[in-house]
Each structure stands twice: as structure tokens, then as C-alpha cells.
């Protein structure tokens, strides 16, 4: 997330809008955005409906046993087609902004 914020101007330059999604309440996301200085949108999927539709539910993995999202990234083009996916196998290993930017360059405006 911090990596995305750092590269946000590069993302904007190539025309990519990063969007974060979790089960956090909008207020919690606002807190996080303010504390960490994140300026891209954060969406709140309270009941993990969208997370379920994307098959990303990590069942009962929340702090009080609620269903949450596993980490995952999708690059979607303007027609709504998935162009790149990262489903990490290890929680501590994440996609780097450079990887996404590389693919983003190949998308059409």
C-alpha cells in the first residue's frame, strides 16, 4: 500500500487508478488514509460480498473471527477485462508497483 502511494504519480501518469478494498468500515479506512497519507480511494466491503464474488475470502481470519480478504491485486482495463492478477502464495510477499506499471503500459487508453 505504501509502495502504491509512493508510485501514485506514476500510476496516474499511465492512467491507472489504484483502489484498495477491505472489510474495514469507511471510518476505519479514513483513519488509515489520514495516518498513512494514502490519497487513492479505499472501499469498504463490510460483509465481504465483493470479496466473496472475487473468491478472495479468508474465512474466519479476522481478529474476532470474521471473514476477511486475502491479499490480491487485479489490473482491470477500461472495458472491465482482467489484464493481470497477483494472488500471492505467501502473505509477506507482495506485488511491486514496477510490475504493475510494466503491464499498465501495454493497456490502451
Amino acid at each position: 500500500m505504501r509502495g502504491i502511494e509512493k508510485s501514485l504519480s506514476k500510476f496516474n501518469e499511465v492512467g491507472i487508478r489504484p483502489v484498495a478494498i477491505s472489510v474495514d468500515k469507511p471510518e476505519e479506512s479514513r483513519d488509515l488514509q489520514q495516518k498513512a497519507g494514502y490519497t487513492f480511494p479505499f472501499l469498504s466491503d463490510r460483509n465481504a460480498d465483493v470479496i466473496r464474488r472475487y473468491d478472495l475470502v479468508h474465512a474466519k481470519a479476522g481478529i474476532s473471527g470474521e471473514d476477511i480478504a486475502r491479499p490480491a491485486e487485479f489490473l482491470i482495463d477500461k472495458s472491465g477485462t482482467v489484464k493481470w492478477v497477483n494472488l500471492t502464495e505467501n502473505y509477506w510477499i507482495r506485488a511491486r508497483p514496477e510490475q504493475v506499471l510494466e503491464v499498465a503500459k501495454t493497456l490502451e487508453r
Binding site: P18, S22, R30, P41, A69, V82
Partner: protein
């Protein structure tokens, strides 16, 4: 002869793994280079193991002022440190892999399921809006959806 009595390699070998454990989550996690593979922390653990080994040798030396106490203390301290190291290796390399397979997740070439969700100001936005609202006056090329666990 205070320097001879204080088993400094042992205590350094005890503190170092604690520092190495915590530093991953508070420092090294912020840099992809040290996060994706915790080589910095593993290096610190290797140094700690060497120190603990030196500490154990000192602890078991015959010239200690309290030989029995010294043996017990150095053994317990070394064992605790090894537990910290094991816990770290477990958390990163085994615990980190406890993720659902997500076989049904949208794949490259498929359509991303449409959705509408409230943003952090409570305003509902759809994927379609995210894909069409201009960025700095230009039509976007696309959207990067980043799903994450949540803030806690």
C-alpha cells in the same frame, strides 16, 4: 573482574533475536527488498546464534564464579533465543502461506465482476465509475484493485 563475569556474548545473543524479530514488522516490512525475503533478519539471527554459542561456551567454562548457575542461565537464555528464531521462521515461511487458494478468482482475460461499494467518505462508487472517472483530466486506462486484510 567484572568483564570476565559478565557473559556478554550470551546476553547480546539474547537481545539480538528479539530485535531482529521486531525489526521485521516495524522496519524491514516497509521495503520490498527486505520484506519479500527477510534476509536482513536471518543475517541477524545467524550472528545471534554465533554469539549464543560463544555465550554457552563461556557459561560452561570451568572458571565461572558460579558454575552451576552459569550453566543453567546460559542454557535457558540460549533456548529462549532459539524459540524466538523458530517463531520468526515459522511466522514468515509457514504462517505466511496460510492463505486460501482462491481458484475461483477472476483470471486474465475474464471480465472483472461489477460492484458498488462505499468509499471512506461513505459515498458509493461502482467499478464502472472507477474505470470512467477521469484521472487528472484524462480518461483512465484501467483500475488496480488491491484487496487487503484490513486495518488492525
Amino acid at each position: 573482574m567484572n568483564t570476565k563475569r559478565l557473559n556478554w556474548p550470551l546476553w547480546l545473543g539474547f537481545l539480538l533475536p528479539l530485535g531482529a524479530f521486531l525489526s521485521y514488522f516495524f522496519i524491514f516490512i516497509w521495503f520490498p527488498f527486505t520484506r519479500d525475503f527477510p534476509w536482513a533478519n536471518l543475517l541477524l539471527f545467524v550472528i545471534a546464534v554465533v554469539l549464543l554459542f560463544m555465550g554457552l561456551r563461556r557459561g560452561f567454562a570451568s572458571d565461572r564464579p558460579h558454575p552451576i548457575r552459569s550453566k543453567i542461565v546460559s542454557s535457558i537464555v540460549s533456548l529462549l533465543s532459539l524459540v524466538v528464531i523458530a517463531l520468526f521462521v515459522f511466522t514468515i515461511f509457514i504462517g505466511g502461506r496460510w492463505l486460501p487458494a482462491s481458484k475461483g478468482a477472476p483470471q486474465v482475460g475474464q471480465r472483472a465482476p461489477e460492484f458498488s461499494l462505499p468509499d471512506s467518505s461513505g459515498k458509493t462508487v461502482s467499478l464502472n465509475e472507477l474505470l470512467t472517472t477521469p484521472i487528472n483530466g484524462n480518461a483512465p486506462k484501467g483500475v488496480l484493485l488491491v484487496f487487503y486484510r484490513g486495518y488492525w
